[in-house]
Symmetry: C2
Subunit: 515 residues, 2 copies
């Protein structure tokens, strides 16, 4: 699999079809009639008359637009450019500039993850990414996971503090991208944000407490457009934020964005979409139906609960091979530095290699003390493997349950899309070997990188895609796994490497020792 080639910035543009390149904001160049003694209608009337000629009959006008209308229309001799946002109930005039500024049409796309925030500065005329950047979500100091952040919100000023923290991160990213490209803040006209439901609540300052209480009701699944400035985002006063709608408390706009961005809902073929992190979000479906579930994988894939686990950063053991004849370990670390620990994708590769070679035991030493960064042995333990088994079982059982809910199984799948930063590091062969991913022909697997940001970008490029987000969110049926008997059965059966039913479910997996 050529993961680098497929996971380019245009993966989504290639996958999703049938959308017009027609951004939610557009600029209209208008030549207004200069006033005469016989026609001294107001500046604003001249503007709305010109908009009517362009078939904008019923348009809302942001009051801020007219504050300096007299100066603007005269500055460029009655030739102006009007910026209109189209993804509201009515089109809305948000900005007026002297002269012809159509060549400048910029926007921002963000994915707000619980751990990291990713941003892209887009040129909406060319459909291009001009700059992209990433940073830790400033909310991390209030808790690593969504639950602890929801709890934090119940404290005095909790909601405000969490909102400010993530907006601070967003502003940092904006500052970095505008500096890099020399594009001014004032020329950015729109923002699209995709994120999980909790992150959206915290960004917008909504009360998230009911997200974690049965029956898990968000305050808003499809929040209305909101002025970016009113959230504290440092852009022009004309800018509205569109947040991609969510399906449920634990299936957010990030997943909807991924489904829309990859065009799953447009094809008759059945796709399995996996975004694996602390939560493994799973979607299965095609143009007729979509089911989704959040499988709680725990922190294993991010190195949590593993004796020498760590994030996939410099020094993490990512690949592993038992050398022939000697059975000595050969490891590869990220950045080729001295090994510090094991990341999630490394854990999968290690487990698969051990499994293929029939090695098991209480503890296996990957790196001897003399060779490690800390000067201590780096080992993988039985407990580590148990945690990995529980995590992969949750994901695999989630997939099975989803597919069974629509009367199918692994064989119903035409294509598997692996999304997310962790996903893009997974070795498919090894993930199948340990029973994390279904045993399908390898060419059915596609990596797309960050699906949420991909969707946010496509929504910035196409109002059709925004409309499709609402369609997809409404079409998706959420299955609560925690209350599902099928899931519990599938989960228990999956608590084995690769599976209790290897022969039927994982026929291609060859193990050193037959179970």
């Amino acid at each position: 699999l050529d993961r680098e080639k497929i996971a380019t910035q245009t993966a989504g543009e290639r996958l999703a079809r049938g959308w017009r390149f027609q951004p939610p904001i557009s600029k209209l160049y208008l030549e207004l009639l200069a006033p005469t003694a016989n026609d001294n209608a107001s500046d604003l009337a001249r503007l709305t008359r010109a908009l009517k000629n362009q078939h904008y009959d019923n348009i809302d006008i942001d009051f801020s637009v007219i504050r300096n209308v007299a100066a603007i229309v005269r500055e460029a001799n009655w030739e102006v450019t009007a910026t209109i946002v189209r993804n509201a109930a009515c089109p809305r005039l948000i900005k007026l500039e002297p002269g012809d500024t159509r060549s400048h049409l910029y926007s921002l796309a963000f994915d707000i993850g619980t751990t990291a925030v990713r941003g892209q500065l887009l040129d909406l005329n060319k459909g291009r990414i001009l700059s992209q950047t990433i940073d830790y979500n400033g909310q991390i100091s209030f808790g690593a996971d969504v639950i602890s952040r929801i709890v934090q919100c119940q404290k005095p000023d909790g909601r405000l503090n969490l909102q400010r923290a993530v907006v601070g991160t967003i502003n940092t990213l904006i500052g970095r991208m505008t500096k890099e490209t020399a594009i001014t803040l004032a020329s950015i006209d729109h923002i699209v944000i995709a994120a999980n439901t909790v992150m959206i609540h915290l960004l917008l300052g909504l009360d998230p407490q009911h997200l974690r209480l049965s029956p898990y009701v968000p305050a808003a699944g499809a929040p209305p457009l909101v002025k970016a400035r009113s959230l504290g985002i440092d852009v022009g006063e004309q800018v509205y934020c569109f947040t991609v709608p969510s399906v449920a408390s634990y299936v957010g706009g990030d997943i909807v964005a991924g489904v829309v961005g990859t065009g799953i809902y447009q094809r008759p073929q059945v796709t399995l979409y996996l975004d694996i992190g602390t939560n493994g979000e799973i979607v299965a479906g095609n143009c007729d139906w979509l089911v989704t579930a959040a499988a709680s994988a725990g922190p294993t894939f991010e190195g949590g609960g593993i004796k020498h686990g760590m994030l996939a950063i410099s020094g993490a053991i990512e690949d592993f091979e038992l050398l022939a004849y000697t059975a000595e370990p050969g490891i590869t670390t990220i950045g080729h530095e001295k090994p510090k620990g094991i990341c999630g994708s490394g854990l999968i590769n290690i487990a698969a290699e051990l499994l293929r070679n029939g090695l098991d035991g209480w503890e296996y030493v990957l790196v001897w003390a003399a060779d490690s960064f800390s000067g201590q042995d780096i080992v993988i333990t039985e407990v580590d493997l148990d945690n990995l088994i529980r995590a992969k079982a949750a994901i695999f059982a989630g997939c099975q349950t989803l597919l069974k809910s629509i009367g199918g199984n692994s064989n119903s799948i035409d294509e598997v899309i692996i999304a997310g930063t962790f996903g893009s590091r997974i070795n498919i062969e090894n993930a199948i070997t340990i029973g994390l991913l279904p045993d399908l022909p390898r060419d059915k697997f596609i990596y797309i990188g960050n699906g949420s940001l991909l969707g946010a970008r496509l929504c910035s490029f196409s109002n059709d895609m925004i409309a499709d987000c609402f369609k997809v969110a409404a079409l998706m049926t959420n299955i609560e796994l925690s209350e599902n008997n099928d899931f519990m059965e599938n989960y228990v059966a999956a608590l084995f490497l690769p599976h209790t039913n290897t022969r039927e479910l994982f026929p291609s997996v060859k193990l050193g020792v037959e179970p």
Copy 2:
């Protein structure tokens, strides 16, 4: 004429016909479905679903509404009241309250005059005025007339200072009315403002400089809805201000409001509408056509340019009678206090009485020094009379010019409506005697008091009336008198008491000395 009876608060409601009592804001009581395990859609989705059931399919939602949606819907067990504003391009949800609050629906109507601001607090359920109040426009310290205020705007912070001044007055009036009625600020949901074009520009912070430069182009004739808070008006964050659209730089929303409020545009009969102050705004028309003009009467009717002139306040000579046989003056003052000077309506009455009795000369003493407040004679001079003649000539010639522009004359008029504070003090008989008003049967004259505030109130009661404001503003043809030859001829001919052509134009006027 029973001026007290006609000039009641319901004069407009009586005159204008065919409008539904359907305010631009309305409250909907909604019983939302409580969430269950099988239906855990978001709080906002439950709300929009309920709105859809009430036929609000395409509705914009102010973001502020959803900030506390989770708490509000649960506070009253999923029974809420939604407040919707209907006079935008799309209906817009502006407020959500727990429980059934339909019995509380309040709004404000304002007339912003150059000199004074008048406000009313309205109960939109009952169609009633709960409180009304008046105060000087805080902008007076920046200049008495509109021109000096426009000039003031060109100074640093000029626009901001003038905006703050009038908003300060508005806030004072709001404070007074809410205190008197014990209605909370938070329960006021809408504001309608009618004013002349300059006052609207200054209120909204728009650049007014082109209003006084040929070809007299306003920045905005029909400004969009604006959040009251963004102007500094001290009400809830949900409140939008609607400003009645204007026709031209010197024919403002106050006149449009008067025309709409009095239903002139609804009747086949031809009405002449006069709002006489520093500017005499004149409208003539019916359901098929409407013409309008602003005749510059100067400050005479407000006591300006008159030796002992003053505003119509306590101590002003308002009525005057030459006692039979002695020809001694008998005067009446406002408040029956010691005489201080002569107000505009007094001046008309004095001139008419002198004219009827054939008295003229260099100076006439109305009050001897011993009887006056200041201890000096109060006199009326030849210069005073000349100023009065010029002022009344401008108004009368304006009327003639307007009527001729549509091929008519005084005989085309079925009804004369006298609007404005000054207007409501005029003695019709005397105003005809001096040639200010056309010589028509006296029962054709109707006083309505402040027409602008009347229209603002009706717009608060009826969305139909708001729609009609736009129709009327578009239908009205403005005639610039300053550049009109007819007007100049009529003006010169009217520079006589009552007129150079008394026999034809003022047949009913009997003078002591035939001209």
